[in-house]
């Protein structure tokens, strides 16, 4: 994966604008190391070329005076429908949920609209990278998939989706079958299920349906392995199958499965299943993190937490359940990133993290959950997620704590290119401010 990352970095650098920018006298927060107060950072060929106390101004470089400002790596949102969904309630603008149960060949990336207004909106709040997810609910059509397709890791800027790409196959999305509904959201809490064995959602029919789905899932993986064997045997009658072909990186352990599993029981089932199948997984939107924590830690499985600002799951849940999920993950020693899972909340990603800090998460851990952790979880740890020499220059220059709502962003760089701090909403604001 590391090698793949480096190769991609080389490839991407070729696209990047050759602009050379020197940021001077700024406080540089690399996330992976101690802050450098009053330091310099050189951007060259789309990458971070140098970091130091003093860097001489290269010929032709633009100098950005950073006195009183701070530099951070750009934010990464680990769960969005950016580019895939424009208006939640309008089916025609929504390309997330396809039909079909097993659809590993679908790629979110090639359905990403680079001109979506959402990119401009989230960019100016520092979100430079996002995971765009296929599948899920909404009004995209299906939404009932087991394997929904390939999630893309992308930059929030680019003329085309190809230019935005970091990795079109960052993860395979799996909605793990569960009695509480696919992915284990909703339904009856596990501790009540034995008391209400005949409740509609938890009756024998539902259990049988789950077992049936898991059997189908296993059969699909068996097919993929048989396909791999046949392909490697190079038999003359071998025929390419797009679905099974797409599964090869998964069964070879090169592509993780992003597994939607909410409750502890569903998480446990998903982990047990992944061990049997010998595949890498990332748990998406777990809600019973404290309960599942020890097992996640023991098996070294990372998680993407959903919105911190979310209502408690049950009526009798603690009022701060959502606020404390990141703290629970941290206490359990589980590697975690954050996702907002709804386009209109992507720009609030840093504020979601700040709420976790209010409820006990160390400040540095919140920063990591939006930067280096997701970079590593999505296999791009050598490319993005921190300020280090050789990484892509995905940066924000800000006038305060970047998770504080009072802080203003002064400059954004994506792949070394300075982003115009404007979007449709800012233009409307300026236009109507001038109305007499």
């Amino acid at each position: 994966m590391k090698i793949l990352g480096l190769l991609m970095a080389t490839a991407l650098a070729a696209f990047a604008a050759g602009e050379t920018v020197l940021i001077q006298n700024a406080d540089i927060y690399p996330v992976t190391g101690a802050p450098l107060k009053g330091g310099s950072l050189l951007i060259q060929d789309g990458k971070i070329a140098e970091i130091g106390a003093r860097i001489p101004v290269p010929k032709g470089a633009t100098v950005l005076e950073g006195k009183g400002l701070r530099v951070y790596p750009g934010w990464i949102d680990s769960g969005t429908q950016l580019g895939l969904e424009e208006i939640e309630s309008i089916r025609e603008t929504n390309d997330t949920g396809e039909l079909g149960d097993f659809m590993p060949q679908l790629k979110a990336l090639s359905a990403v609209n680079p001109d979506s207004e959402h990119f401009g909106v989230v960019r100016v709040n520092g979100i430079t990278t996002a995971i765009a997810l296929p599948g899920g609910g909404g009004r995209g059509g299906g939404g009932g998939q087991i394997i929904a397709g390939q999630a893309a890791l992308l930059h929030t800027d680019g003329w085309t989706w190809e230019e935005m790409e970091i990795n079109r196959s960052a993860a395979m999305v799996l909605n793990f079958p569960s009695a509480a509904g696919r992915g284990g959201r909703g339904g009856m809490p596990a501790e009540l299920q034995d008391m209400f064995p005949n409740a509609a959602n938890n009756g024998m029919d539902a259990r049988r349906a789950v077992l049936d789905q898991i059997a189908k899932l296993n059969a699909f993986f068996d097919d993929a392995r048989a396909y791999k064997k046949a392909k490697e045997a190079n038999q003359p009658d071998f025929q390419k199958d797009l679905k099974l072909e797409a599964m090869l990186p998964v069964i070879e352990g090169k592509m993780p499965l992003a597994v939607n599993a909410s409750r502890a029981a569903a998480i446990h089932d998903a982990i047990a299943w992944s061990e049997k199948q010998n595949v890498k997984i990332v748990i998406m939107q777990p809600r019973e993190v404290a309960k599942a924590g020890p097992e996640l830690k023991a098996k070294n499985i990372p998680v993407v937490l959903g919105r911190v600002l979310a209502l408690p799951e049950n009526e009798d849940s603690e009022y701060d359940e959502g606020y404390t999920q990141p703290l629970e993950a941290y206490k359990a020693g589980v590697k975690f990133a954050l996702g907002t899972f709804t386009n209109e909340f992507v720009r609030d990603l840093p504020y979601q993290a700040a709420t976790a800090v209010a409820y006990g998460l160390p400040h540095d851990e919140a920063l990591k959950a939006l930067t280096i952790n997701p970079a590593q979880i999505w296999g791009a740890g050598s490319l993005i997620g921190s300020i280090e020499k050789g990484k892509l220059a995905d940066l924000m220059v800000v006038d305060g704590d970047p998770m504080d709502v009072r802080t203003q962003i002064r400059h954004i760089f994506i792949k070394g290119k300075e982003i115009t701090l404007s979007n449709k909403q800012i233009r409307l604001y300026e236009r109507y401010m001038s109305r007499q």
């Binding site: 424009e86 208006i87 939640e88 309630s89 309008i90 207004e117 959402h118 909106v121 501790e191 009540l192 034995d194 008391m195 600002l309 979310a310 209502l311 408690p312 009526e315 009798d316 603690e318 009022y319 701060d320 606020y323 386009n343 209109e344 720009r347 609030d348 504020y351 979601q352 700040a354 709420t355 800090v357 209010a358 409820y359 704590d401 998770m403 504080d404 709502v405 009072r406 802080t407 203003q408 909403q425 800012i426 409307l428 604001y429 109507y432 401010m433 109305r435 007499q436």
Partner: protein, 449 residues
């Protein structure tokens, strides 16, 4: 009504309220004293004194709040919590006869969660399925009290109107955000914005005739005559109250065209819109809203969830405020309701409100919009002791609510809440075990018998 209200409050206040002093806090008053570091004295449920130095009344409890921030209780101008059995009477285009007051569920956990987010007062509105919806009222989040005891005594009642997608698509069972609750009814007039205007104008056409009938009757009675009493029409009665300025009109709206339509329909029929709610394109017609004299209660940064929210901008609140409109930020949502303080913070980020202007959008401004600013919305002597204590800068997400008082009674305390969690979990386990053993068949009996 006002006198009665004061009487009721005076009778209620001493029950749970003690005399106490919060000292060394950074107090963001939203009143004439601005922001200062010092004390707030609470007595009989009211704010008795504020200042850098105060006289501590004999026997007063001291609450040390060094490093903490005290703000007025948050007021949510648009909420749908605490409604039982649905808040959308979507079967008719004009449902002004129904009243949220009749369906308040004081046990809705959303009340407690809002309280834990610093909300002390919320305007509970009917849904938006109708051009003219049901009657509304503000509640105080007096968790643990009855529905009647939660009602904000003396507040002018309201009525919900709705424009745009929701009233015109109410017949569509798809619903969607904004169309609260499951709406599964037959297609119903209106189906367009034109029809929405017609429904509103026609309703006031009838209401004015109804009012004229009653005015004639009242005048005749005043002259000592004995006319036949007109029939009371509960639907038109509420609109008659609007025409008499006894009931506030809160209008759900999104687009600039429909906002302007509503202003003109109100002008033509001789009533005022008290607040435009959501009003995501209010920034486009700020001039007209200002001239009409309406307030605006909006979201900070929600957008793109439906087509009429496509031109929403996070600068809406600040722009309207700069153009002279009284602006508040509301939730419309049990989750968002828990952090309106940080929604206010966004008014600083988007559009450069200063901290007093920003915090006003969830405190004194909604109080003005609801006509309750004489008793709540700021920390000033004589006002209700509705107070929220934060452990950090209150409009930053890094802060959390630690204590909340309503009428001088403490309704939320994070320390107590956290301390009680283990006991609550144990109680739950006990109850579950009890239920399990009750369900288990006796061991001497075979299950199939």
């Amino acid at each position: 009504m006002k006198k009665l209200a004061i009487g009721i409050l005076a009778a209620l206040a001493p029950l749970g309220a003690e005399t106490f002093v919060i000292q060394n806090a950074t107090v963001m008053t939203e009143g004439s004293k601005g922001i200062f570091k010092g004390s707030v004295v609470v007595k009989d449920g009211k704010i008795a004194d504020i200042g850098e130095k105060v006289m501590v009344p004999a026997g007063a409890t001291i609450i040390e709040a060094g490093g903490l921030y005290l703000i007025p209780g948050i007021i949510d101008c648009h909420s749908h919590i605490a409604g039982s059995g649905g808040i959308n009477e979507g079967s008719v285009s004009v449902s002004s006869m129904v009243n949220i007051k009749d369906i308040i569920n004081p046990d809705d956990i959303a009340i407690y969660r809002a309280l834990a987010g610093g909300v002390t007062t919320a305007n509970i509105l009917h849904g938006s399925a109708n051009s003219i919806g049901g009657q509304t009222l503000p509640l105080k989040m007096r968790w643990g009290k009855s529905a009647e005891e939660m009602i904000f005594a003396g507040a002018t009642p309201g009525i919900k109107f709705a424009l745009g997608e929701n009233p015109k698509r109410s017949g569509n069972p798809q619903g969607g955000r904004g169309a609260i609750g499951a709406i599964q009814i037959q297609a119903r007039y209106p189906a367009t914005r034109m029809g929405v205007e017609d429904v509103i104008r026609e309703a006031f056409n009838q209401a004015k005739a109804y009012k004229a009938e009653w005015d004639a009757y009242d005048a005749a009675v005043a002259k000592g005559e004995h006319p036949i009493r007109p029939r009371t029409d509960l639907k038109l009665q509420a609109l008659k109250e609007v025409l008499e300025n006894k009931r506030y009109v809160h209008v759900h709206c999104y687009r600039a065209d429909e906002i302007l339509m509503m202003i003109r329909a109100a002008d033509d029929n001789g009533f005022k819109v008290r607040t435009f709610q959501h009003v995501l394109e209010g920034y486009k017609v700020a001039k007209e809203i200002k001239e009409h004299g309406a307030g605006a209660s909006t979201f900070s940064d929600w957008w793109a969830y439906k087509i009429e929210a496509i031109d929403a901008i996070p600068f809406n609140a600040a722009l309207m405020a700069k153009k002279g409109i009284v602006v508040s930020l509301n939730s419309d949502d049990a989750e968002l309701m828990r952090h309106l303080n940080t929604e206010a913070g966004k008014a600083m980020k988007y559009g450069g409100m200063n901290e007093t202007e920003a915090l006003a959008m969830v405190t004194i401004n909604p109080a003005i919009q609801l006509g309750i600013d004489k008793t709540v919305g700021s920390i000033e002597v004589g006002k209700d002791a509705d107070l929220v204590l934060y452990d950090g800068y209150p409009m930053s997400d890094f802060a959390k609510v630690t204590k909340v008082w309503i009428d001088g009674t403490q309704y939320f305390d994070r320390d107590k809440e956290v301390a009680a969690q283990a006991a609550k979990d144990a109680e739950k386990q006990q109850l579950l075990e009890k239920e399990r053993s009750a369900q288990r068949p006796p061991s001497n009996r075979r299950p199939n018998q």
